[in-house]
């Protein structure tokens, strides 16, 4: 596994309301890219770069660390801790603890960590009952025993604990790169930006004229443009607004986008469709108070009785938000149907809804 240098910048790990976090992160990235073109932002507050190349170039690990510290000091007046370890999982831990591990020391370091660092509460609780206190204790469990006792998610963590996988699922924020790109577009106006916000190009005019014609043909609510906004699940984060309505500025300044990682559904239902999720005996599947499913989903009943087999599911991922002052509780579940279609469901107040299709 590759030795990584990780930078943990605590003050940049929480997004500030004024948008300055992403801008600071960009400045940091630009400075680090001078040292190493492969620097990567993993999450807010966490960047990594492979150490081998720069180390050869600068003449040793210490020289790279010094150069990185210096360039962080030059661009941001913030505290940064550096860590070196093999694999992203250990590199982050090392950075948070300010530890530089030499080649070959990562395994011992990983094994000594408390089980909680794997970020799975149920595993930590059950582990304690079984007398497993460290990542190493958990790694020593037989994979087959882990498989019979724990969920698929924990099996993945077991591989991380054993050093077979270098990073935790969900360790990366998959949307951060896109968001940084859009911030960069706003902060540094490129030619196309000027043409969009300032002088309009001939292409812009032609497109607007075409939109006019379609609206004339089909009515005022026919042509739409996209808007991205705050929200933690895909169906909340985007909407279509009628073309020509005020404020077309696209902004994605949502806070930390939440737990629903992985790809977003390419069809995101603006008006969710009520569905039923049933177990093998035809009973409705519910989400219990502790956020687990009452039974394994076996079928999904779509509109008017069309019934499809469910061959796999993931989640539920609970979500509690304040909607004005009433807390809104939802949970999301991914299901794979027997025909190969994948769908995103949401449950709210005991009702299942189809909210997305991975078409």
């Amino acid at each position: 596994m590759e030795r990584l240098l990780a930078l943990w910048v605590e003050p940049l790990s929480e997004e500030r309301a004024d948008g300055s976090t992403l801008r600071d992160l960009l400045r940091l990235l630009d400075a680090l890219e001078v040292l190493c073109p492969f620097v990567e932002v993993i999450r807010l507050g966490l960047c990594v770069l492979p150490l081998r190349g720069p180390s050869r170039f600068f003449g040793g690990d210490e020289a790279v660390l010094a150069a990185v510290r210096q360039s962080v000091r030059d661009v941001l007046d913030l505290d940064v801790t550096l860590g070196v370890a093999e694999g992203l999982f250990c590199a982050e831990l090392a950075a948070r603890q300010g530890t530089v591990l030499l080649a070959g020391q990562t395994t011992a370091f990983r094994r000594a960590q408390p089980l909680g660092v794997l970020g799975h509460r149920e595993l930590a609780t059950t582990g304690r009952r079984l007398g497993l206190y460290t990542v190493g204790d958990f790694a020593d469990l037989d994979a087959a025993r882990v498989a019979e006792r724990f969920s698929a998610a924990v099996r993945v963590l077991h591989r991380v604990a054993r050093g077979e996988l270098g990073e935790l699922p969900g360790q990366r924020d998959p949307r951060l790169a896109t968001r940084l790109r859009s911030v960069r577009g706003e902060a540094v106006p490129s030619d196309e930006q000027v043409s969009f916000f300032g002088q309009r190009s001939a292409g812009d005019d032609r497109a607007q004229a075409a939109a006019h014609r379609v609206r004339h043909r089909l009515g005022p609510e026919a042509v739409f443009v996209a808007r991205l906004h705050g929200g933690r699940v895909p169906e909340d984060r985007a909407s279509l607004a009628p073309w020509g309505s005020p404020s077309r500025e696209l902004r994605d300044d949502a806070p930390w986008p939440g737990r629903l990682g992985g790809p977003s559904p390419v069809t995101s239902l603006q008006q969710p469709v009520a569905v039923e999720l049933r177990d093998e005996s035809g009973e409705p599947v519910r989400v219990g108070v502790r956020g687990s499913l009452s039974a394994v989903p076996a079928s999904l009943v779509l509109v008017r009785g069309s019934r499809r087999g469910v061959i796999w599911h993931a989640g539920p991922w609970p979500l509690v938000e304040r909607w004005w002052s009433t807390p809104r509780r939802r949970a999301h579940l991914q299901v794979l149907l027997d025909g190969g279609e994948a769908m995103l469901l949401s449950i709210e107040a005991g009702r299942w809804w189809l909210v997305g299709i991975y078409d």
Partner: protein, 204 residues
């Protein structure tokens, strides 16, 4: 006898596409004036394939439009690399999908259209003539129950679709058979990952 014609760069005759499509499509992009058909059973990835073919064009400053896709996943589109500032959506054109598409082909470089019902010969012919005349591209997204009624310049036929999962859906491997006229007729079968774990289209 050779005729004199203005020198056009090969590039400008192409609406650009991102990888993995650029290395997979004949000519490295979508030829202006051509009709492209993405044919896929519903729910298996056809829409993702079609939308990812928009990304490079929109990112390079071309306007694009999406007709007949009623609930586009805008976050997913952004992850696919589409620059949403230059996308016009006509989600519910109802019976006037062909007319709306024709209107848009006058003003944007690439239109994705998912006909709500089977396209008639006349409608299809009219759109194909329009793109040829305008030097734009129409990309029809069709299903087995309502195929495109005329031969297209380029067809991407989705023949397989498989998800990989961990603690969630990670990535989908779709198999596409490339066909059509000219160079495209040589065809070939390709596997593309769309979406990958970050929502992008990538080569396998």
């Amino acid at each position: 006898m050779a005729t004199l014609r203005p020198v056009t760069l090969a590039k400008s005759r192409i609406v650009p596409v991102a990888e993995p499509w650029a290395s997979l499509l004949p000519g490295g992009g979508l030829r202006r004036g051509s009709t492209v058909v993405v044919h896929a059973p519903p729910g298996l990835g056809g829409l993702s394939v079609a939308l990812s073919l928009l990304s490079e064009a929109s990112a390079r400053g071309h306007w694009v439009a999406v007709v007949g896709v009623d609930d586009p996943g805008v976050v997913a589109m952004s992850d696919l690399g589409v620059d949403l500032r230059r996308v016009l959506f006509v989600p519910r054109p109802r019976g006037a999908w062909a007319e709306a598409t024709a209107d848009l082909l006058d003003g944007v470089d690439l239109v994705i259209v998912r006909p709500p019902s089977r396209a008639s010969h006349v409608a299809a012919r009219r759109l194909m003539d329009r793109v040829r005349e305008r030097g734009t591209v129409v990309l029809a997204l069709t299903e087995p129950r309502a195929p495109w009624p005329l031969p297209a310049d380029l067809t991407l036929h989705l023949t397989g679709s498989r998800w990989t999962m961990s603690s969630r859906l990670d990535a989908r491997y779709v198999t596409l058979r490339v066909g059509g006229r000219g160079e495209a007729a040589r065809g070939g079968e390709h596997v593309v990952v769309v979406p990958d774990v970050r929502g992008r289209a990538v080569a396998r």
